[in-house]
């Protein structure tokens, strides 16, 4: 891509959204995280797909959509790298990286539901895992007389103790005036669908 120098010392091989490319070290695409040799945009897409699918399926999605070979291991490495970078920021309550719950009116109802189970992890054996979902009344839309959908919601996940999970969950709920909370996934869906 661009003018390519002859010497190996002045060029770089990269994984990009167009497949494997070779660029000059002075090219705008070149300054990427040297641990990966992957362009910034492809790293972004890997994180996006790594969140939505299991890594193996993500590899197939890249092949299907962009016709490029990206291994499940590469998606895992990049996703986990940025996950680790974000963890301390989330713990420190850094507002820029925490999604916001948008309410139309102060008085509107906020719904939260949460549940948990035990998960067998590779390195630490069985661990508690918790997942919560929060949405507001205005994002809950009736699409049929007996059916409704939630357009926007925030998921809160935590691998570890219940106490730490509630601290994460609470930060979205402190400004809420009317809160309806459900323990267990099915209950909130049933209640909202019944209205």
């Amino acid at each position: 891509m661009g003018d390519l120098p002859r010497s190996r010392n002045f060029k770089k091989k990269l994984h990009s959204c167009f497949g494997k490319i070779e660029v000059s070290k002075t090219h705008v695409l070149a300054p990427v995280n040297s641990d990966f040799g992957i362009t910034a945009r492809l790293q972004h897409l890997m994180c996006l797909i790594g969140q939505k699918e299991v890594f193996e399926e993500g590899s197939e999605t890249f092949k299907e959509l962009l016709q490029i070979d990206v291994s499940d291991n590469q998606i895992k490495r990049v996703s986990e790298h940025y996950g680790k970078v974000l963890d301390p920021l989330i713990k420190a309550n850094c507002e820029e990286v925490i999604p916001k719950l948008i309410t139309k009116e102060e008085s509107e109802y906020t719904y939260s539901m949460f549940d948990g189970s035990m998960l067998l992890t590779r390195d630490k054996g069985w661990k508690e895992i918790k997942l919560g979902r929060i949405c507001t009344e205005s994002h809950h839309i009736d699409i049929q007389p007996t059916k409704s959908i939630i357009l926007k919601s925030i998921f809160v996940s935590h691998l570890g103790r219940r106490k730490d999970f509630f601290l994460k969950l609470e930060r979205f709920l402190t400004a809420t005036k009317h809160l309806v909370s459900y323990r267990g996934w099915g209950k909130m869906d049933m209640e909202l669908g019944r209205r």
């Binding site: 990009s16 959204c17 167009f18 705008v28 695409l29 070149a30 300054p31 990427v32 362009t39 910034a40 945009r41 492809l42 972004h44």
Partner: protein, 43 residues
């Protein structure tokens, strides 16, 4: 349709986008923006 006519038609179909790209390519300072813009052009 002759091969040359097909080639010319294909080139003509993205002539404007290509011109814009060639003019703006050197102005990108972010690799992310560069790749995003290039992806749009080749699509």
């Amino acid at each position: 349709m002759a091969k040359n006519q097909i080639k010319a038609a294909i080139l003509n179909s993205f002539k404007d986008e290509l011109e814009i790209w060639l003019e703006t390519e050197s102005s990108f300072t972010s690799g992310y923006d560069y790749e995003t813009a290039y992806t749009k052009i080749i699509q």
